[in-house]
């Protein structure tokens, strides 16, 4: 680490390197380092470790949310967790993890297989439903995803489900017809439940670079996102782009996917995350 270096330009450059290599992007990284330099100069700080802690605090300030997110399900039922995101980011696996968590909490859980497009997507979600021991609503491959959502939510309301987890098909944000389809899925959900009963999440692959900002912006336009699930954080990528996203859009990371098994989902710990950036 840089702990024994003298505090000069090279020291700050090295810190900038760490941020950029963590996918925080140039703008956000430079903003953080400029802010750090000003504080160091103003307060005449000489200790490298103290400076790094200041930088961590600066990142923490961006990441932490005023609304405290707990994995607790609000009282108004059913509570709908809708998973969206680009192809392969980890939505279906995350759906399985959420199902297990709320099943373990003693709640009545349903999954909705609204990815009616990709080969074996419904089969994949069915296996997760079995593993989590929860019910699943599905239709034939090729059916209208909004119809499956409507069907599922109808059942969820009628039979008093506590939690509904809706998995959707992966889609690239520049495909406007697919973003329209997603808007329709959300609109359809609002016919059955209120806005405050839906947690709209963007599942983001931690290996993603600057394109994640465009994903967040466009998915947010389509479905008004409540937060991000940062998946695959068990890999080597740091997913620093979430700092940029929080800074620019105010969108917080609520959960982290830390593996391929059913228990590998943890509420996002900003402090542990920031430590990990410099670990």
């Amino acid at each position: 680490t840089t702990l024994h270096k003298k505090i000069d330009g090279a020291f700050f450059d090295e810190l900038l390197d760490i941020l950029i290599l963590g996918d925080m992007g140039v703008e956000t990284s430079e903003k953080l380092i400029d802010q750090l330099k000003r504080t160091v100069k103003r307060d005449k700080i000489r200790d490298a470790e103290e400076i790094i802690n200041l930088l961590k605090a600066g990142i923490q300030d961006i990441l932490k949310s005023d609304i405290v997110y707990t994995a607790e399900i609000p009282d108004k039922r059913p509570y709908v967790i809708m998973l969206t995101g680009v192809n392969g980011s980890g939505k279906t696996t995350t759906a399985g993890k959420f199902a297990r968590r709320y099943k373990d909490a003693g709640l009545k859980v349903m999954m909705i297989a609204a990815d009616t497009f990709r080969a074996a997507a419904i089969e994949q979600l069915e296996i997760w439903a079995q593993r989590a021991d929860v019910d699943i609503v599905k239709q034939k491959e090729g059916s209208d995803p909004s119809a499956v959502i409507f069907d599922g939510l109808q059942k969820a309301v009628a039979r008093n489900y506590d939690v509904v987890i809706a998995d959707t098909a992966g889609r690239l944000q520049n495909k406007s017809h697919l973003m329209k389809e997603l808007e329709k899925i959300k609109r359809t959900s609002l016919k059955k439940v209120d806005e405050d009963q839906i947690l709209s999440l963007l599942v983001l692959d931690a290996t993603t670079g600057q394109n994640a900002v465009s994903q967040a912006l466009i998915f947010n336009d389509a479905v008004k996102l409540d937060g991000i699930v940062l998946a695959k954080l068990d890999g080597t990528a740091k997913g620093g782009i979430v700092v940029t996203i929080k800074d620019r859009l105010g969108l917080p990371v609520l959960e982290a996917g830390v593996g391929e098994k059913i228990d590998d989902l943890i509420p996002f710990d900003t402090e542990a995350y920031v430590d990990g950036l410099f670990g």
């Binding site: 392969g88 074996a120 600057q210 080597t236 740091k238």
Partner: protein
């Protein structure tokens, strides 16, 4: 667009007097920013800029009214060169069994690419066989079977409880006995830090002398693309890369990082979810996309 940004830098600095090294520095900085925003690896971008600077600080360029444009052209040419210059394709021999292995991180598009390649080769008169070696992901085998069926390409599936090594050996024998000339093996997504899973692929490549071991990389991959490619290359040895999801709007800087750091050529690209979405890689088109 980068070319406009560079032009603005030079026009602004020219307004202050004769162009000099400072103007070039500022122009180069704009270029470096653009590369980073395109997800080119930080260190790769630094080296790249140093090379471009060498070519740009000649008197001829600095005196020219089109200095900005010229530098952008140097950047594009240099990028194209770094991406391999020419198209490199997968080379296979007719009338024998060619074997291809697809590896990569989770979710990058391997299974889809296996089916796409199968279809492309079938249309070109080959007799392909897809082999399902992902025994971990729920419904992975079904996914390959379904897309294989759509592609009209046979899929070799595992028996219950069979491990990838055994499946591959059995598939190899089957292929030889049935006049298959292209075997395409799809593997499970894996992390480079998962020692057991990396060892699994090592074992596969030790057992079968693959004609191609292709690293599949998602076009939206950020800075980590370099480490991932380096690790796969040093541990397994890769003969080529496939970059997927280029129908998206990711600039694809990972392509530059992967190619320049491993020296391994990008041989194919994925350009859509459908089976038609596979194309040959053109370095020139990619450099235009990266530079924006």
């Amino acid at each position: 667009k980068l070319s406009d940004k560079i032009q603005n830098v030079f026009d602004r600095l020219r307004g202050k007097g004769r162009l000099n090294e400072k103007a070039v520095e500022e122009g180069l900085r704009e270029i470096r920013m653009a590369l980073l925003e395109a997800d080119v690896n930080y260190k790769v971008a630094k080296d790249f800029i140093a090379r471009v600077k060498e070519k740009s600080v000649g008197e001829e360029i600095l005196k020219s009214l089109t200095a900005g444009q010229q530098i952008v052209r140097i950047v594009r040419d240099e990028l194209t060169e770094l991406l391999g210059g020419e198209t490199v394709e997968i080379e296979l021999e007719r009338n024998r069994l060619n074997e291809i292995l697809l590896i990569g991180l989770q979710g990058c598009g391997k299974t889809t690419m296996a089916a796409k390649m199968g279809m492309k080769y079938r249309e070109d008169g080959w007799r392909p066989l897809l082999v399902a070696l992902d025994i971990y992901r729920p419904a992975a085998v079904e996914q390959l079977q379904k897309t294989g069926a759509q592609a009209n390409v046979p899929v070799f599936a595992p028996e219950s409880g069979e491990k990838p090594m055994a499946i591959l050996s059995r598939a190899h024998e089957y292929a030889l006995e049935n006049n298959i000339d292209i075997l395409i093996a799809d593997t499970a997504g894996r992390l480079t830090i998962d020692d057991e899973m990396m060892a699994e692929v090592e074992e596969l490549t030790q057992a079968i002398d693959f004609d191609e071991v292709l690293l599949v990389v998602d076009a939206m991959t950020g800075q980590e693309a370099v480490t991932v490619a380096e690790t796969f290359n040093s541990r397994i040895g890769i003969s080529g890369c496939i970059m997927t999801k280029l129908d998206g709007d990711a600039r694809g800087g990972a392509a530059l990082s992967v190619r320049s750091v491993t020296g391994v050529p990008i041989k194919l690209i994925g350009t859509g979810e459908g089976l038609q979405g596979v194309e040959v890689f053109y370095p020139e088109r990619m450099s235009g996309r990266i530079i924006g």
